[in-house]
């Protein structure tokens, strides 16, 4: 479980996150949804200490992340971002095996694991030795997911992971993500501004407005049945 306790973040006197408290249950998908500028990405990047807190604390399984070395923490938390950010000078297989390799795993072990992960996300063997630039956008994001899974994380952070791929591929990737999450029992925190994605993937949906104020949180079904405000129903496109 990940717990935000009265977390705040200010950038040069401007508040991005104001007194945010939330529990993110383990082995579920929690989706942060809001307009741009709502602070949802900031919340996500706080979990792996990419953004330092101004106030409050974040606990992972009851351990304050302040107590965990940031390199160690980041190697145990998977990270997937919209632009993927594969290393252009490494092959697909090397990209997926890299973190395990530099953490001291043997090359055979790291490579075997990387192959498994690539197969898990549906990348054909024939692509393993190619460079990222030779892949389509959808394939690149699959590799991005495999790379994050290769470190055997319990937690996966995803920032608009499927925002840059076309709608048909996006749905495929969402289905695969659900399948993988169920089979590995991952705790996933996902940021999106796509209402369909949010409703489809979330176990816990958190609707955010300015300065990461929680407008409403709960299961998609609960929220759809009873939106707490005009803002929530507009954001989710709920007709009246």
């Amino acid at each position: 479980m990940i717990s935000f306790r009265s977390v705040s973040k200010t950038y040069a006197a401007e508040s991005a996150v104001n007194n945010f408290t939330l529990d993110i249950p383990a082995r579920q998908i929690t989706v942060f949804m809001g307009l741009s500028g709502s602070g949802k990405t900031t919340l996500l990047r706080m979990i792996n200490k990419m953004v330092p807190l101004t106030e409050g604390e974040i606990l992972i399984d009851d351990v304050d992340i302040q107590q965990i070395d940031s390199v160690k923490l980041r190697r145990s938390v998977g990270y997937v971002l919209q632009e993927v950010g594969l290393l252009p000078h490494k092959s697909v297989l090397e990209n997926v095996a890299l973190i395990a390799r530099i953490s001291g795993q043997s090359s055979v072990e790291a490579t075997t694991n990387a192959r498994e992960m690539l197969e898990l996300v549906g990348i054909d063997q024939s692509f393993f030795d190619r460079y990222p630039a030779e892949l389509s956008g959808g394939q690149q994001q699959r590799v991005g997911v495999a790379r994050a899974l290769a470190i055997k994380p319990n937690i996966l952070l995803m920032d608009e992971p499927f925002g840059a791929v076309d709608p048909i591929v996006r749905e495929e990737l969402q289905d695969e993500l659900l399948r993988i999450q169920r089979s590995l029992g991952l705790t996933i925190v996902l940021v999106t501004h796509d209402r369909y994605e949010a409703l489809k993937l979330a176990d816990q949906l958190v609707i955010l407005s300015k300065e990461a104020q929680i407008e409403q949180s709960g299961s998609p079904a609960e929220i759809e049945a009873q939106p707490s405000s005009e803002f929530v129903s507009k954001l989710l496109g709920l007709g009246r």
């Binding site: 190697r75 971002l81 950010g85 252009p88 890299l98």
Partner: protein, 211 residues
């Protein structure tokens, strides 16, 4: 042509000195420029860029003879000239090195940080390899100018290919001067080509992309 054939041994010897005097500053300047570009905090970059720009504007002969007064090197020595050329390489390469490191794909850098690569791992596994094309481009420009500029060191007594200019001019042997010009041009192009090939060999990924 006859002159060159008759003096092949001299030309070879001068060529070796010429390569020595220009390649060592090139290598040294490359490393220093990359280090400087990498460690300079962003707020200082404009200041350093314009200071190095001013240094780059100094005519080489003036720097060759001003350096001894400033740092106490020997007026007519090899070290003096090589330090001056190193300074030129740094000032010519700093900007392109800085550029090579600041124009890396942001998502890749973000990922490397977020997934727990330490600062030195980021440099060796990610930043440096990706900066190679930009660094090589800068090095090629610096190499050609350094090799041709090194000939001016002959005026302060360094016996490299520039010696053929002074000696040939004094003795009115056109072929000698021309041989020097040609030899410098040829080694400058050869070094340029080698750097280009090196860049290609080090960046196989940049030649393949999705069709």
């Amino acid at each position: 042509m006859t002159w060159a054939l008759n003096n092949a041994e001299l030309i070879l010897q001068l060529t070796l000195t010429h390569l020595f005097v220009s390649l060592i500053p090139l290598g040294l300047g490359f490393v220093l420029a990359v280090a400087l570009a990498r460690v300079t905090p962003a707020p200082f970059t404009p200041g350093i860029t314009s200071a190095l720009g001013a240094v780059y504007a100094i005519p080489s002969l003036a720097l060759f003879v001003a350096l001894p007064a400033l740092i106490g090197t020997d007026f007519l020595g090899l070290t003096n000239v090589m330090i001056a050329l190193t300074i030129y390489v740094i000032s010519s390469m700093f900007f392109s090195a800085r550029d090579a490191f600041t124009s890396l794909p942001p998502a890749t850098i973000e990922f490397a940080r977020a997934q727990g690569l330490s600062a030195s791992q980021r440099f060796f596994f990610v930043e440096f390899p990706l900066a190679i094309p930009g660094l090589i481009a800068g090095a090629r420009i610096a190499a050609a100018s350094t090799i041709s500029m090194a000939s001016i060191a002959a005026v302060v007594g360094v016996r490299n290919l520039g010696y053929l200019f002074l000696d040939g001019f004094q003795r009115r042997i056109f072929d000698e001067v021309f041989a020097g010009l040609l030899a410098i041009f040829v080694i400058a192009i050869a070094v340029d080509l080698s750097l280009w090939l090196l860049g290609r060999a080090l960046t196989p990924w940049s030649r393949r992309s999705r069709v």
